[in-house]
Symmetry: none
Subunit: 210 residues, 4 copies
Amino acid sequence: MVRPRQKGNTRKPLKRSPSLKSAERRSEIVRAAYRTLAEKGFEGLRMRDIAQRAGIDHSTLHYYFAGKEALIDAIVDYIVLDLAVGRSPAAESEDVSPRLRLSAHFDALIKQLQETPEMFVVLAELNTRAMREPPLRAIFNKNDRKWKGFLTEVLVSGMQKNEFKGTFLPEVAAEAIISMIRGLTITCAGRPELMRRPLYQVLTWLEGTS
Amino acid sequence: MVRPRQKGNTRKPLKRSPSLKSAERRSEIVRAAYRTLAEKGFEGLRMRDIAQRAGIDHSTLHYYFAGKEALIDAIVDYIVLDLAVGRSPAAESEDVSPRLRLSAHFDALIKQLQETPEMFVVLAELNTRAMREPPLRAIFNKNDRKWKGFLTEVLVSGMQKNEFKGTFLPEVAAEAIISMIRGLTITCAGRPELMRRPLYQVLTWLEGTS
Amino acid sequence: MVRPRQKGNTRKPLKRSPSLKSAERRSEIVRAAYRTLAEKGFEGLRMRDIAQRAGIDHSTLHYYFAGKEALIDAIVDYIVLDLAVGRSPAAESEDVSPRLRLSAHFDALIKQLQETPEMFVVLAELNTRAMREPPLRAIFNKNDRKWKGFLTEVLVSGMQKNEFKGTFLPEVAAEAIISMIRGLTITCAGRPELMRRPLYQVLTWLEGTS
Amino acid sequence: MVRPRQKGNTRKPLKRSPSLKSAERRSEIVRAAYRTLAEKGFEGLRMRDIAQRAGIDHSTLHYYFAGKEALIDAIVDYIVLDLAVGRSPAAESEDVSPRLRLSAHFDALIKQLQETPEMFVVLAELNTRAMREPPLRAIFNKNDRKWKGFLTEVLVSGMQKNEFKGTFLPEVAAEAIISMIRGLTITCAGRPELMRRPLYQVLTWLEGTS
DNA sequence: TATGAATGAGCCTTCATTCAT
DNA sequence: CATGAATGAAGGCTCATTCAT
């Protein structure tokens, strides 16, 4: 949920100060790559397509990124940086009731899936790839841990405040929620509203309606 | 009238493989493709690799499958046919208590993930691809409906027998379970045991331990 | 205009008498090849297509013909054998007036082009190929000589009978006619009627309408 | 995140050819293709051969031409552009006597056949192909119309100047001449001198030697 | 005889990458 | 900085041919 390894500036040592223009161009390219990845998947991801979408020559692309691999790394950096999945003021604020924070989290998630569905396509693509690439998996694992930390905290405080009376271990429930969300983004690809019911079902369970 | 250039084949003897029956060879190829897909993903899936793994010439592969597309379709057929994910005698039998059936389902699932982890890699690969390919998505949707039907039935009978006293709509809970499993196979790729806790957490919720 | 080299029976020495069935099958195949050639040209001529059109397995085709080359040779034999371009009773008969014989020749030609247009496609194909293959060219040259002989004879007798009063050397006029016909079959491919006017123009010239 | 398989290019230095301008290189390639087509025919026309003859890598060829089709189109353009078959100052000039213009046309034709025999091979190849490809046929038809226009004009002015006293319709005679030339280039492939006699025979007829 | 299975050679094309400008 | 040109490696696919049955 937060930026992983910070290899940002170290990666491409520049003699002169990295002109702002250059940095902008780089991120433009990454966004183009990101969108292309969402559309075509890794299978079908072509340097030339990316370059074209970024409005530059494909050689220029190689000027900014050492190779396809480097560009993909940058995409990962980009998405991880941006990975505020389910984040929202309400969800983050510790002043709000845990129950509300969680439901805000779910709502933010659904909203995000509605607004930027490509993100979840890219995420699925990346998750799949992570199955074969341990370094990538490590990144996701690290993120998951943060996510789990957030959820656990909400759950624990919810239990303390007696909002969550269901029977569960906060950590385990957090794991369950994360994976469920992960699965929902796949199952409900294209119809985000479908996510709502299962998500709120879990909320019900947490509340422990007996 | 003498043909100048030497086209075609003028090769010397050869060692042919034991010559299986056509159908056998076909499924052998599909299995090889399946395994290759698990290893390399769609990106990286090469007809030649598949052929080599199947122990045949790549032209022979084209003899059996019109093209890559056709072979991929065959993989899908193969996996769907085999898609008894989480199936087990105990889970299927209606004589067994619903709670047991569900836990047997979970156990079978975990076992399967332990025994044939590639299956879940392929499934992830296919699910991701389904995001871009409606026909493939349709197949998965169809399968999901079956799966959901099974789970709903178990849940309903569990409610009737008062084994599941939790507050939930059977259908919604079924959806939640399916997506959670889907997410778990990704999150827990490589460490199937990790699936157990979240899965049984859900069981607890269903039982409604109040 | 007549069969060239007679290598027919010598080509494929059979222990047993060449069962009639076998010979029939061979010519069936040749006809299938002939039609396929007309449709697809040498570029695009595929053994499998031929076999399919002949209603046999492509391996069977190889049983009857040593290879593509041999089959093409057979096509040539077939077309040359059949090469009665412009033949007709009237044209052949020496009892008929030379002028009539020639016009009958032209008419027969046009009729043939109308009835069996594929023949001329194949001929064009073969003629083009002959440009690169001396042996094939030799066959056509030999045929041309016969054709020229026929025309020359008609022209000479026409001159003797004072039907052709134009100024011309019979041989040269014969050459002119042959090439013109050759060109017309290409120029007028698909619209044989277009041949008539130029052809009869020549007739007019021969008659020497002064 | 490390790419496993080694795709793409990781080659060592290279010796690049003198780097011509894009347009030059293109036409160089077309000429190479043209010559290859003359030698091998459409059957036997290979992108690699063309590239080799042009002295470039076959990928470079694809850099200039989208595909085989595109290259063939370019060949057609090239030959059509160059298609001044039988053109010569004398034949074109309207100051010259029509009879001379026509004979100059014939001479130029023969000369061209002597000097660039490949052209006629390519033409034959193209004409044959045109039998199956309407778009190509349209191109030739268009060209034929121009050619016919030229001949008709010469014939008409020859009749007006009383140089051509033979009995003929200019248009029809033009058609006859075109097809005859077409046929002669095939019949006389390799021995252009053979064209002379038939051609001049026609001239004689046009003059109307009665 | 006839044919299904198998194969090697080769074809067209694509792609990431690099070099020279 | 940027780009057009060029390239090697490889990929999917086709085809004539052959072997075993």
